[in-house]
């Protein structure tokens, strides 16, 4: 395809400036024509003739460039006349002229690029955080009252929905949770044995692995995996339903979205997270044991003997924490889903937010538990 060419010839005739436009005035040639047209210097008050005889092709961009030139020159006090426009181009010129002159839109620039803007941004974010925490607390209250109300009519609770949630969040997550905690068990035992050997205490590897997995890592890893896997799914599912107006449809039919959507997910996760934690603990300790056996030659009876010296509370502390983490993950996941408004774009943004918030709150809560249990001296 031969590229289009267009030119502008300037000449003078009895005191008036003649601009002869020739060639193809198209979007293709616009950049070049734009530069030439901006360079025109007409004497103040002079008459300008736009001679359009030799324009072969014209599109809206070309037509608009002509009109802009006319407009600009008129604004500078010149009298402008277009002449010899081909009749076939007239509708096009009229159409573009009818659109009028609209000032170009500004490109939005983030206000944070100035110092004042940056400080204002910090303030906005902080206030936003407080408002969000307040709002999450409100949502949690709503879910709690709905749960209490449902406790009086337990038959309204859909067992099928809970079981379906348990399958999606629990059974389907088993392989990934099992594999990851197994690997963590292997890594802790391997690294721990290295350091303990230095002090001649390598036989304590089993205690080290067992205690850290049972008390902290098993439940924490499971919660983090579920926040990424199920918390995000909750936000995306409920968010999509909001975009499709399914939630509104539910309300008009008289269904309570919290009861139908949130409670099955909450109860489902509260049941599955402890079970998954149990599996995670087993796999982690198993991985550690495998390592102890292959690296240190600790056999099964010896391994069990070591394991039994770990305080049973270590195990129970891990298990006690798991339903609390489940409540956090399910509540945040559902809450962010309900925050979706307007476009599908916000589903993606809120899904990310839901995972980050859930993991953050899980770890903060875990730290809280740590302080609590050490105060109880267990």
């Amino acid at each position: 395809m031969v590229s289009a060419t267009a030119t502008l010839v300037e000449s003078e005739e009895s005191g008036s400036l003649i601009l002869a436009a020739t060639g193809e005035w198209l979007v293709e040639t616009a950049a070049d024509l734009d530069r030439r047209l901006r360079g025109i210097e007409a004497p103040k008050g002079a008459r300008v003739l736009l001679d359009l005889t030799r324009i072969d092709r014209l599109d809206t961009t070309g037509a608009w460039l002509l009109l802009r030139t006319e407009h600009d020159l008129t604004a500078r006090g010149n009298t402008v006349e277009m002449r010899n426009l081909r009749p076939s181009f007239e509708p096009l010129i009229d159409q573009v002229r009818a659109a009028g002159f609209i000032a170009p839109a500004r490109h939005p620039r983030p206000a944070t690029h100035t110092i004042a803007g940056f400080i204002a941004h910090i303030g906005e974010v902080s206030l936003g955080l407080i408002a969000r925490a307040y709002s999450i607390l409100g949502f949690f209250g709503l879910v709690s009252t709905t749960a209490v109300r449902l406790a009086r009519h337990p038959r309204r609770l859909s067992v099928t929905a809970i079981v379906a949630q348990m399958e999606q969040t629990g059974v389907n997550a088993l392989p990934i949770v099992g594999l990851l905690t197994f690997l963590i068990g292997v890594v802790i035992a391997y690294q721990g044995a290295d350091y303990l050997r230095f002090y001649g205490l390598e036989s304590y590897t089993v205690q080290l692995t067992g205690a850290s997995i049972l008390r902290e890592l098993g439940v924490l890893l499971t919660a983090i995996i579920l926040a990424g896997r199920s918390g995000s799914a909750f936000t995306a599912q409920i968010g999509t339903m909001r975009v499709n107006e399914e939630i509104d449809a539910m309300r008009t039919i008289g269904l309570d979205p919290v009861e139908v959507l949130v409670l099955p997910r909450l109860f489902g996760l509260m049941l599955t997270l402890p079970m998954l934690t149990l599996c995670a603990n087993f796999m982690g300790v198993f991985g550690g044991g495998l390592m102890a056996w292959s690296q240190l030659g600790i056999g099964i009876p010896q391994f069990l003997a070591h394991l039994s010296t770990i305080a049973p509370w270590s195990f129970w502390i891990g298990m006690i924490k798991s339903p609390f983490f489940a409540v956090i993950i399910a509540s945040i996941g559902c809450y962010e889903g309900f925050q979706v408004a307007g476009s599908a774009e916000s589903v993606g943004r809120l899904t990310t937010l839901s995972v980050v918030e859930a993991i953050f709150l899980v770890i903060v809560t875990d730290a809280g538990f740590s302080i609590f249990f050490s105060a109880l001296q267990i």
Binding site: R35, W64, R68, Q95, A99, A105, E345
Partner: protein, 272 residues
């Protein structure tokens, strides 16, 4: 408007589309002439949108050929593809504006992709395109989520027209608009066709649009196309076409646009 009448700008031959066991198109032929406004109609699920997607190369058919601007869409090289894409514009059903960009930035996307242009000129072009499609001043700075459905469609049209294309594809341009906005949109398309010499390939459900701006109608029945002028198609004796034009809505549209049509057939006159 057409300089050389009857030059087919889009030529579809023997098109077969199948999804699973369901055959959507079976040996479909269609010609679109330069400078005409073609309305594609058909029952829901008859494959109107699939036809449009196939013509613009978004859907690979099972068999058949699709030529647009003299190039075979299905087998052409990437360079040819870019060359053809420069010469058409597509308006998707809900505008399909990029949600992270403002309306003006949306219009600038094709300009940026194909031409080296100073930013100021691009901003100016975007601004006058906003005016041409009849959007109020200031729309260019807004994000798609801040616009109503009708404004999103107009913005989508502005983006489709950014490169001054020869063909525009419109997927249900008036669906979801109120009757006044729909009529305005019809007028807009008719005006643009008149001044730009556009060829318009339009999928529509809207009988008023069909009667007020389409030169020819292509009707998808029995997995094939029956095309002709409105006058011809109104007389077609296929049962679906009969009930389409002579149902209560078709009759109303025929009546209001009656002056454009020759004397309606006896079949039409009797029930009135």
């Amino acid at each position: 408007m057409p300089d050389q009448p009857e030059e087919p700008i889009i030529r579809v031959r023997g098109l077969v589309n199948r999804f699973g066991t369901e055959i959507v198109h079976n040996g479909l032929d269609l010609d679109v002439v330069r400078g005409e406004v073609l309305g594609v109609v058909g029952a829901s699920g008859s494959g109107k949108s699939v036809l449009l997607r196939t013509v613009i190369g978004l859907n690979q058919p099972v068999a058949g050929s699709v030529e647009v601007l003299g190039k075979n869409i299905l087998t052409m090289s990437d360079t040819d593809h870019r060359e053809v894409e420069k010469r058409w514009g597509v308006l998707f059903q809900d505008g399909a504006l990029f949600s992270s960009l403002t309306v003006a930035e949306n219009i600038e996307v094709p300009l940026k992709e194909y031409y080296e242009m100073p930013l100021r000129l691009m901003d100016e072009i975007a601004a006058f395109k906003v005016g041409i499609v009849g959007l109020p001043e200031g729309t260019g700075e807004k994000y798609p989520s801040q616009l109503s459905g009708g404004m999103r469609k107009r913005s989508g049209l502005a983006r489709a027209l950014a490169l001054d294309p020869e063909i525009v594809f419109l997927d249900e341009p008036t669906a979801g608009l109120d009757p006044i906005a729909a009529a305005e949109f019809d007028t807009l398309i008719r005006d643009l066709r008149g001044s730009l010499g556009l060829t318009v390939f339009m999928v529509t459900h809207d009988l008023d649009t069909l009667f007020s701006i389409c030169d020819r109608v292509a009707i998808l029945v029995d997995r094939k196309i029956r095309a002709g002028t409105l006058e011809q198609m109104v007389q077609d004796d296929h049962p679906w076409i009969q009930s389409y034009f002579h149902g209560p809505r078709g009759r109303a549209a025929l009546l209001s646009e009656g002056e454009h049509l020759p004397k309606p057939g006896t079949r039409l006159a009797a029930p009135l």
